[in-house]
């Protein structure tokens, strides 16, 4: 129809900008082992940023894109950690199996819990997610025989991955591990991005924007909120499994509600209306934690202060300050 009276230049420009942005981000991530030591960091830190970045972005799938704030999402992160830990400790040396186990444990349980909470909204939703996380934390440190109690699962290490002809030594080689994490990160983030740009993603966003209008378009809100919850649980469980590989242990601290809070801080800091915002927020948080905690014991105070300032004056977060207005 000739009524597509949109000057084609505008559409092309927007698309070009997006590709440019993506290219820059990936260039930075791929070149990390090169520039990280130059700013006084180390490769391990980079991997940690990716892990928490993935976790924060997964949370934001539910929070920024579907509009439901979960303060208990680290439960599925922690389950991912333990899932991977169980495999590596007693079962098999296969990294991929450990990853799969963690993803499934966190994701499937997330799906079950999601079915229970998907009818709640707002503060009720936030509180009930906390309640469930507390239950998992409790199980984590009480069920000694299975989870190892307070100490958790220790005594395993991530193992080199054998591909028949060649081996990727992710145990000894930090840089190799970083790229391994980056690949997994890329896959999950790519899937998330694909979904968010699809009709399903638009349905999630519609629910965030105006649930009543979505309902009166025939969209059954609870069902989609459950789906968003479940997808984000699977993604965050992946981050958890990676975390187990990063640390070479699994302990209840990964199930602590504090982690949930920190993930929310990261997402909000970076900007919940932006896709990459939470990654930036995670980077800032992890870096600040790493450096400030060496300088002063009270770095949390400053993180809290920055966070409070962001919430009061820059509700769109760091990336929001650069004019990222819309999610789609």
């Amino acid at each position: 129809m000739s009524d597509l009276a949109q000057p084609p230049g505008i559409v092309v420009q927007a698309a070009e900008r997006r590709w440019l942005r993506l290219a820059v981000i990936w260039a930075v991530l791929i070149a990390m082992p090169l520039w990280m030591p130059l700013v006084g960091g180390y490769t391990d830190l980079g991997a940690r940023i990716l892990v928490f970045g993935l976790a924060a972005m997964s949370l934001n799938f539910l929070m920024g894109y579907t509009g439901q704030v979960s303060f208990g999402h680290a439960a599925y992160f922690g389950l991912g950690v333990y899932g991977a830990g169980f495999i590596l400790l007693d079962f098999s040396h296969s990294t991929l199996l450990a990853l799969l186990a963690g993803i499934l444990l966190g994701g499937l349980i997330g799906a079950v819990i999601g079915a229970l909470v998907c009818r709640s909204r707002g503060i009720y939703f936030a509180l009930i997610t906390i309640a469930f996380q507390e239950v998992f934390y409790y199980i984590g440190y009480k069920w000694d025989s299975v989870t190892g109690g307070y100490d958790g699962l220790r005594g395993f290490q991530r193992q080199p991955i054998h591909f028949g002809l060649f081996t990727i030594d992710i145990l000894k080689n930090d840089v190799a591990f970083y790229y391994f994490v980056l690949v997994i990160f890329g896959i999950v983030v790519g899937l998330m991005g694909l979904i968010l740009g699809s009709p399903l993603g638009r349905t999630f966003i519609a629910l965030r924007e105006n649930e009543r209008r979505a309902r009166f378009l025939g969209i059954q809100a609870n069902r989609y909120i459950w789906l968003s919850f479940t997808i984000s649980a699977f993604c965050i469980a992946t981050a958890g499994a990676l975390n187990a590989l990063l640390n070479n242990f699994a302990d209840p601290s990964s199930l602590d509600v504090t982690i949930s809070g920190e993930l929310v801080v990261m997402a909000v800091l970076g900007g919940i209306r932006s896709f990459w915002g939470p990654l930036l927020g995670a980077a800032v948080f992890v870096v600040v934690e790493n450096y400030l905690s060496g300088l002063t014991l009270n770095w949390l105070f400053f993180v809290g202060l920055i966070f409070v300032i962001v919430v009061m004056f820059f509700p769109r977060g760091l990336l929001g300050m650069f004019g990222q207005r819309r999610a789609v």
Partner: protein
């Protein structure tokens, strides 16, 4: 028999704490829809300020002054920070107070250290009342007594004073109150300060019982939310009942299944939220 009695009594003590903490939280929530995630930290702050004041003015004055001072700090926080986000989605209040919680907790850690500190209470309160009911020592009765006084004072304040009536009216319909020409900004600040006063008081009492540490409020924060939810949002009486209920529930669980006493509160919370989100006395459709 003794064991059950012991635990019910413990439950009431615990419940008294929950009531005190939850009422403050409830007041703030009902009037302004602000979810004060920093409430537990104000509780700790109250305890720590008492620690500072007791050597200077003695225990009994500190019992009043420490919460008052905490309330003043709360007033300032409300004026400078919280008032900025009133128009927005309630989720912002969650986030803001969450960040605030970090700040207060770390500030306490900085000033008073990571380790626990004792709060000296008058020796007259430490003695057990009777050798048969060994668990009833004076301090615990004292806690119950103070909480009762505070609750009665609160309800009297809300019922009989002009400011109290305005707050109650505001909890019901803030827009109309504003339209009547009442200074809503001041009302909110005072209401917040009032809620923080109760938090501070809870902190002093808790400090005397279990000692002070920067995380002490954490154990009271989520149960306070549960108390509000069980009792029903929007109802202070509901919060009162809710707090007592979960205190007793937690204590009784210790008799039958001690390992679960930590988590039973969260189980109750989950069940209530799923089955009857409006709680005992809340109204349908309250968010």
């Amino acid at each position: 028999m003794m064991l059950v009695l012991f635990n019910v009594f413990n439950g009431l003590i615990l419940g008294a704490f929950y009531v005190l903490a939850a009422l403050g939280l409830s007041m703030i929530l009902n009037l302004t829809n602000v979810i004060n995630f920093a409430h537990g930290n104000f509780i700790a702050l109250g305890g720590y300020l008492a620690f500072v004041l007791i050597p200077i003015v003695g225990f009994w004055p500190a019992l009043l002054l420490a919460p008052l001072l905490t309330a003043v700090i709360g007033f300032i926080v409300e004026k400078t920070m919280i008032s900025r986000i009133y128009g927005r989605d309630p989720i912002y209040s969650l986030l803001l107070t969450f960040g605030l919680a970090f700040m207060i907790e770390d500030a306490c850690r900085y000033i008073w250290g990571v380790n626990g500190l004792p709060l000296t209470t008058p020796p007259s309160l430490s003695a057990p009342i009777s050798s048969e009911f060994f668990f009833v020592n004076a301090y615990r009765l004292f806690i119950v007594a103070i909480v009762i006084i505070a609750v009665v004072a609160l309800f009297a304040f809300l019922r009989f004073t002009r400011m109290g009536m305005r707050i109650r009216a505001g909890m019901f319909d803030l827009e109309t109150v504003a339209a009547l020409g009442i200074n809503v900004k001041l009302l909110r600040s005072l209401n917040f300060a009032c809620g923080i006063f109760l938090a501070g008081l809870a902190g002093v009492l808790a400090g005397g019982q279990i000692g002070l540490n920067p995380n002490m409020g954490d154990n009271l924060l989520l149960p306070s939310f549960v108390a509000i939810i069980v009792g029903g949002m929007g109802s202070l009486v509901g919060t009162l009942l809710g707090g007592l209920l979960i205190g007793v529930a937690a204590a009784v669980t210790t008799v039958f299944y001690p390992a679960a006493s930590d988590v039973v509160i969260y189980v109750i919370m989950a069940v209530v939220l799923l089955v009857r989100p409006r709680g005992l006395l809340g109204e349908e459709g309250m968010q």
